[in-house]
Amino acid sequence: MSLEGIGERWIVYFGNGGFFGQLNPMTLIMSFSIMIMLVLIARKIKFERIPGRVQGAVETFFDSFWQITEEVVPNPEYRKPTFVIAMTLFLYILVSNVLGGIPGINVTPLASGINVQLFTDVWYSPTSDLNVNLSYAIMVLIISHAFAIKSKGFVSWFKSFFEPTPIMFPMNIVSEIAKPISHSFRLFGNIMGGGMLVLILSSIVKYFVLPVFLWAIFGWFFGIVQAFVFSLLTIVYIGSML
């Protein structure tokens, strides 16, 4: 395996091409398989009155997030929706990041055609595609403003842009636009840059032992931390607007 085609994406063009005529097949395939996997795992866990070991672990895990949500979100009505949104994003991003630390099937386009790599590269992780991250970040932004309008009313929501003085209005608009950009680029840069760094460093030592440790660091450790950061910032963004 050489470094040819690193950082390239397999893109299928249809129709006239352009912005709406492109498709990233690996992102679609991997995100749908992750969703199906998560649904199957969630259906397997049974919740009973006397908890078993799996149920205990799951409840402890979700309870720690629920405590953070209770501290951050002031309005008790909006705690449960915020928690559900943040945890859905967390589970999806966690599984897709961790798949980026397990050897599997990856597809890279070369000049001569499409190159399918079997167990020499990690699985393609959907969060290393900026479209996925940006759509989630914009979704969080829209949800936070919708919740703010619903809880505070339109007038006081609109007034919050003119605080503390009306001169600050452009600054507030810029800070709102900067939110989804920093939110999505943080995750994208970590996963994509980590994957590239692993490939480049591994090619220096001819794929001798080193990739295993690098996959553990960049796939597992940074993946889990970034999934946690993404969902926590979701809670904070929604909670700070209320």
């Binding site: 950082g7 943080r186 970590n190 994509m192 970034q226 950061v229 926590l232 910032l233």
Partner: protein, 96 residues
């Protein structure tokens, strides 16, 4: 004149000197971007780590919470470094 046609004219008219200038600008910009951009996050993460160590030494019973929050703050302080990494990658791989 956009960037692509400008670079094409530079390379076709300049010959070896054009290629040299093209790669000089590209590689130097990527290296400088990554090197200077890593200063800020490094200082920030050092500050966070030092404060977390002090707090852990003062209250060892809270070390679990402090460690979680420290990792979180580290990941947020890293953001500007990640931006410069992205720009370096764009300069190296995406630029025509």
């Amino acid at each position: 004149m956009d960037l692509k046609t400008m670079l094409e004219t530079l390379v076709t008219n300049g010959g070896y000197l054009g290629w040299g200038l093209y790669y000089l600008g590209k590689l130097l910009a990527a290296g400088l971007c990554m090197g200077i951009g890593a200063i800020g996050p490094a200082l920030g993460e050092g500050k966070i780590g030092a404060s977390a160590m002090e707090a852990m030494a003062r209250q060892p019973e809270l070390s679990g919470t402090i460690r979680t929050n420290m990792i979180l703050a580290d990941a947020i302080a890293e953001t500007t470094g990640i931006y410069s990494l992205l720009i370096a990658i764009i300069l190296l791989l995406v630029l025509p």
